[in-house]
Amino acid sequence: MPPFFIITGIVTLLGAAFAMSLRNLVHCALAMAVAFSGIAALYLQLDAQFVGFAEILVYVGAIAILIVFAILLTRSGEAPEKSVLTSGWMAGIAVSAMVFTMLGWAVLNSSAIPKETPPAPVATVKNVGDALMTKFVLPLEIIGLVLTAAMIGAVIIALKEDSQKSKSEDGGQQ
């Protein structure tokens, strides 16, 4: 196992851990961006170049920014005075520890894991594009539909509900 892999893995996990444990939400979001960058680096090392770049584009470029915007819009940029944890947080930690234990145990003891490492597969942009346009063209279309629906839905949910008010505001915008 190359050392670089270990380093990226640790950076990713640290980023994730900080994202989940820091008090200030903006710091959490930034730590999340670090974690996503680390995952992108992991993808690159797993010879999935396209997915790696897409990960950065989608998560760091879009979702992180979106979350940051949401944080500022809900005025939670400051660390709260009260506890940041829920009342039953210890049970939650216990459950997640159990989940990790079970998963790790399953991974280490699984007989389905192949022993030898196969050669790096070829996933050029052309191959991916061909696959998307032939074998996976229907899922691609459906994803397009889902994204459109999600966009419209998000806009409608986030719209102001008070129509009278929004009308006057529209007038003000022009």
Partner: protein, 103 residues
């Protein structure tokens, strides 16, 4: 430990961290971040199995991750819109203060 197992362990730990955050933190946006982390753990799994699996030329896991990322984008957009809508209503984003939907 094979590389595949290393990837799977990283992904399992990532999943557990995301899960712990989603379960313990009060703020809705952090829950969303936790969910995103869990989703990424799953994606890492898919890529790892694609890379070390028997049929990488089929690109199934690879394409699945692309789709899953698109879904994550949609999910984040709708989720954040919901959080903003809830904040506008109740002036809070803490999940334990949003509990109208109970029996």
């Amino acid at each position: 430990m094979t590389p595949l197992q290393a990837c799977l362990l990283i992904s399992a730990l990532l999943f557990a961290i995301g899960f712990a955050g989603a379960v313990t933190r009060r703020h809705a946006i952090l829950v969303l971040i936790g969910i995103e982390l869990m989703l990424n753990a799953a994606n890492l799994n898919l890529i790892a199995f694609w890379r070390f699996g028997p049929h990488p030329e089929a690109l199934t896991g690879f394409i699945f991750v692309l789709f899953s990322m698109a879904m994550a984008g949609a999910e984040a957009a709708v989720g954040l819109a919901l959080i903003i809508a809830i904040y506008r209503h109740k002036k809070t984003s803490n999940l334990d203060e949003v509990k109208e939907l109970k029996g």
